[in-house]
């Protein structure tokens, strides 16, 4: 009797669980291939935390005008965004890097929508006494050949390199522009702009790199080869460390997603939220970059 009960309850639980899974899978499928007949539509955007504030702000404004469309924005990292959109579990995958640059992502099955540009620059603790370096010096610092700030004209202070997490979009952009294939020195790794900013500000001799929007008065952005990290220099590629912010979708997308992506490219967003939040508008770019980091005139 008892054994039967246990078996029975196991079977019941199993069925319940299977049922729940099945339902979820079905819901996932229907949302990605969504129908335009539905009155209220949902758009799910997941991925890059660097892009998240912009998409969140744009989604807020977008929903004011389109009350029947709900746009859901989540973080999780570029890798998560690309994985999820490739699997079709979300409509939009936000990423700091080209899908081609990530192993395991079927880039040919995705459509790239570039919505903004982000400039990044090396930043140091203001106490190190250096305001400008050459590209070669910067490479030597991040590969561990230069170990003290006095070697590049600063104070006698050991250099503490703060890197970004392996595989992060920001790190990929920085290494492509600065390291040129060399291996970075073994160092601290942090996974968010906020933490990096906090650590660089408070750690003597610290160097890292941040998006322009994270510059604060108590950290020192470095000029490279005499070029200042400014938005104007990014638009002409005089400043080399920059990347697109991508919103990837499947090839076939529903109307709500299409509408939202079109909205992202309007002047209202590009001159509004994009600039307000410290990104650079794609309309301002005078050059373009491809997945192999080749830059060409627009």
């Amino acid at each position: 009797m008892k054994a039967k009960l246990v078996l029975g309850s196991l079977a019941v639980a199993g069925l319940l669980l299977l049922g729940a899974c099945g339902k979820q899978a079905a819901a996932g499928n229907s949302s990605s291939s969504s129908s335009s007949t539905a009155k209220s539509a949902k758009v799910m955007a997941v991925g890059s935390t660097a892009l998240q504030p912009l998409v969140e702000q744009a989604a807020k404004d977008f929903q004011k005008e389109n009350s029947n469309i709900t746009v859901n924005v989540q973080g999780g990292g570029s890798g998560t965004g690309l994985s999820q959109v490739a699997q079709g579990s979300v409509a939009i995958g936000n990423s700091d890097i080209f899908a081609e640059a990530k192993d395991g992502v079927p880039a040919d099955k995705l459509t790239d929508h570039k919505v903004a540009v982000v400039g990044m620059a090396p930043v140091t603790n203001p106490e190190v006494g250096v305001k400008s370096v050459t590209m070669a010096q910067l490479k030597d610092i991040f590969t561990g050949k230069i170990k003290n700030w006095k070697e590049v004209g600063g104070h006698d202070e050991a250099i503490t390199v703060i890197n970004r997490a392996e595989g992060s979009g920001t790190r990929a952009t920085f290494e492509a522009a600065v390291l040129d294939g060399a291996k970075a020195v073994k160092s601290q790794e942090q996974d968010s702009n906020g933490t990096v900013q906090q650590i660089v500000r408070s750690t003597p001799g610290a160097i890292s790199y941040l998006a322009f929007s994270y510059f604060k008065s108590d950290i020192q952005p470095l000029a490279i080869d005499g070029v200042e990290p400014t938005e104007a220099n990014v638009t002409t590629n005089k400043w080399k460390i920059w990347s697109y912010e991508h919103m990837y979708t499947q090839k076939k997308i529903d109307d709500a997603t299409k509408k939202f992506l079109a909205y992202m490219e309007t002047d209202q967003v590009q001159n509004g939220a994009v600039k307000k939040l410290g990104y650079i508008s794609i309309h301002d770019m005078k050059v373009s970059k491809d997945a192999q980091n080749k830059v060409s005139e627009k």
Partner: protein, 302 residues
């Protein structure tokens, strides 16, 4: 014809049956959940070895972590991560345990009224603070202090262990209080009647009798410390290497997981390798559970 009440099920019996079914169903859902989670993590975790052909031996015995996103060659060794996890956890337990036991003695044997009304709730309040808050306090307050007094960058095992000690203090304290309180009060009265001093009662009666449970309390604390990710990640420095001292940056299993998981693609080597770390964590916490089981087995008072 009215059915004979002796042969029909009464409302109470039906209630009984209903309750029993409810229990069975809840327990089986729980069992299924645990089994599926273990299956999921294991199946993902072993892919590093089955699909990507990393050798198990080198994974467990080397210390370099480089998923090969740069030059295409991957070195994956979890030894440094495991070592740091162990050292940090043990140090945290070593710091928290004496404090927890002393607080326990105070609450149980010295000032039961004040202890129960004020000290215990305050300690338990610590449990409700989210770990990111601990991490942030560690990052902004503790790390600079350590840097000033112990050198280095301030990031490292010492910062991690101090934060963890604070986080597991309430766990160990609550369990210690409970186990000391479960000692039969008549033993204490006996001891006092025999002329024991208060310290003799505490040491020879309370601590002796509850010793086994106190060990279990510490193991629970250790298990919690081992699995904590976010707070540690913020202060440990996240550099995969053996720490040369307590203030050199290093990384734990959990901090590596938290830092990297969002940047990896499902089904690729970097992602699988992280699942393997998760599998190692799962096995270790399973080991902790078995140790607790072993300790409480012969204990009749448990």
């Amino acid at each position: 014809m009215k059915p004979n009440p002796l042969f029909t099920r009464s409302k109470e019996i039906r209630q009984d049956n209903w309750g029993r079914w409810l229990c069975y169903i809840s327990v089986s859902i729980l069992l299924l959940l645990v089994v599926t989670i273990i299956y999921f993590i294991s199946s993902k975790g072993i892919q590093t070895f089955t699909k990507n052909h990393v050798s198990v031996w080198s994974f467990l015995t080397t210390a370099d972590w480089n998923t090969g996103s740069l030059n295409g060659k991957a070195d994956l060794g979890a030894l440094a991560l495991m070592t740091t996890s162990f050292v940090t956890t043990m140090l945290a337990a070593a710091l928290a345990t004496p404090l927890a036991f002393v607080i326990g003695i105070y609450v149980v044997a010295l000032q039961p009224k004040f202890g129960q009304k004020f000290v215990q709730p305050i300690i338990e309040l610590l449990l409700g603070i989210p770990s990111v808050v601990y991490g942030f306090i560690g990052l902004t307050v503790l790390v600079p202090i350590i840097r000033r007094h112990f050198g280095g960058t301030g990031f490292g095992i010492l910062a991690g262990a101090l934060i963890l000690a604070l986080m597991i203090l309430p766990t160990i304290t609550s369990l210690a209080i409970e186990s000391m309180r479960s000692v039969d009060p008549s033993y204490q009265k006996f001891a006092y009647t025999l002329g024991c001093t208060r310290w003799q009662v505490i040491y020879h009666v309370i601590l002796r009798i509850s010793a086994k449970k106190l060990v279990v309390a510490v193991i629970y604390g250790v298990a919690r410390a081992f699995g904590e990710a976010l707070a540690v990640q913020m202060v440990i420095g996240n550099t995969v290497q053996f720490a040369t001292n307590l203030v050199s940056p290093t990384a734990t299993l959990t901090s590596k997981l938290t830092t990297d998981i969002g940047n990896t693609i499902d089904g690729t080597l970097p992602n699988n390798a992280l699942w393997t770390l998760a599998l190692i964590l799962l096995l270790i916490s399973l080991a902790f559970n078995l140790i607790v089981k072993g300790f409480t087995k012969g204990d009749r008072s448990a």
